[in-house]
Symmetry: C2
Subunit: 220 residues, 2 copies
Amino acid sequence: MRYVDAAGMSLDDYPRPSVAVDTAVLTVEHRELCVLLVQAPEAEPSTGWRLPGTFLHPGETLADAVARSLRDKAGVEGLRPEQLHVFDDPGRDDRGWVLSVAHLDVVRADRVPVRTGQRLVPVAGVPDLPFDHGAIIGFAVGAIRDRYGGAPDPFGLVDTAEPDGSFTLRELRLVHEAVAGHRLQPDSFRRMMRGLLEDTGRMGVGRRGKPAELYRRRGE
Amino acid sequence: MRYVDAAGMSLDDYPRPSVAVDTAVLTVEHRELCVLLVQAPEAEPSTGWRLPGTFLHPGETLADAVARSLRDKAGVEGLRPEQLHVFDDPGRDDRGWVLSVAHLDVVRADRVPVRTGQRLVPVAGVPDLPFDHGAIIGFAVGAIRDRYGGAPDPFGLVDTAEPDGSFTLRELRLVHEAVAGHRLQPDSFRRMMRGLLEDTGRMGVGRRGKPAELYRRRGE
DNA sequence: ATAATTTAGCGCACTAACGCGCTAAAACGC
DNA sequence: GCGTTTTAGCGCGTTAGTGCGCTAAATTAT
């Protein structure tokens, strides 16, 4: 039985906003934190580069919509999108009343297909973007830096050769430096990570000098 | 001219969710962090205690809706609500497709009117609540503790006798202890705050012993 | 076989923060 | 006037973290 309120109205009888999701997809490429931009289709009123986004469909959670958007618009299989902020200015979109729920998603660069109409841009050099997409990137960068400040590679960005996902301290540090946007002192970094990693007992390969030990995250 | 997309549809032709706002109003009463609960009207399908909330109306921002909700449902003039999280399970509400944007608002206890159908409950002893209201309170407590960890009374909770809003170190510390939920060592607290406060040059009154100096936040 | 390179760890000097006991100062109570 | 109470600040011992130079170990290059 369909619900009606004290005024005899159902929820659908009231005006409602469209709800969009926009996602700042962050990755590390060439030791730099980058964001994925896609080109708007010609039919859109505001063309140019922007963050991938879509409208929320019935039966979906926001994360479902983010995943659909990244798959359809950018060929990226998203992982675990996290909410950042809701942009709610009633006049923010010329098409009508639209709320946008900004998200962060983080994927390894090798999972972002190279194709026309999309590119990875260093977050330190983002061009002007429509809507609130510049602000969304700012939120996303703050959120990923916060997460990487307290845990080893929480989003799985380390691109390791090992099938079991283990990595060297140097590989881990290079990713953390890319996210942080500045150099990290190796000794302090090791001490911070010491209690959060466990030694696999195996050694890495492929470089001169003493081979590095392979680690995985504690509790994995 | 009203916008239509490539399929000749306007935004209103597509199904859209109702958007609600729910607010964890936090305050300090009797040196304890408390949350405001209101009683649901009898006509609602789910009666009992809950957080104040409402549906978003056209032309409003989320903060507008929060303010209207707190004024109408609880007689509280809200200050600056902050977004916490969007609860988006399509099946979370029996009435239909409803998203809820959870918020935090912080007010001094003397701004919460005492009236039937509402009460302040210590966050350490919240009863079971409908929907995701328990989770919302959890988010809110985490957010306020984070904010109070790095700045002197960011939400203006100190209930001072001074017309210019200045306060003593002890008054400030008692509020920070209520928010943190544990005791703070006075000397360490003073050292942390030293650079964030400025001395008004005036002294407080009303207690035995050396009167305390009055401070205000630096940059106020 | 030796030199060069890289890694992991540590000793050490230094910096920063904590918590407590103590003192001086400034009020009130008697 | 003196005792009591409260506040602000500090000295000090302790704990924790940082960055660097150094060493030993384990590889590759010559």
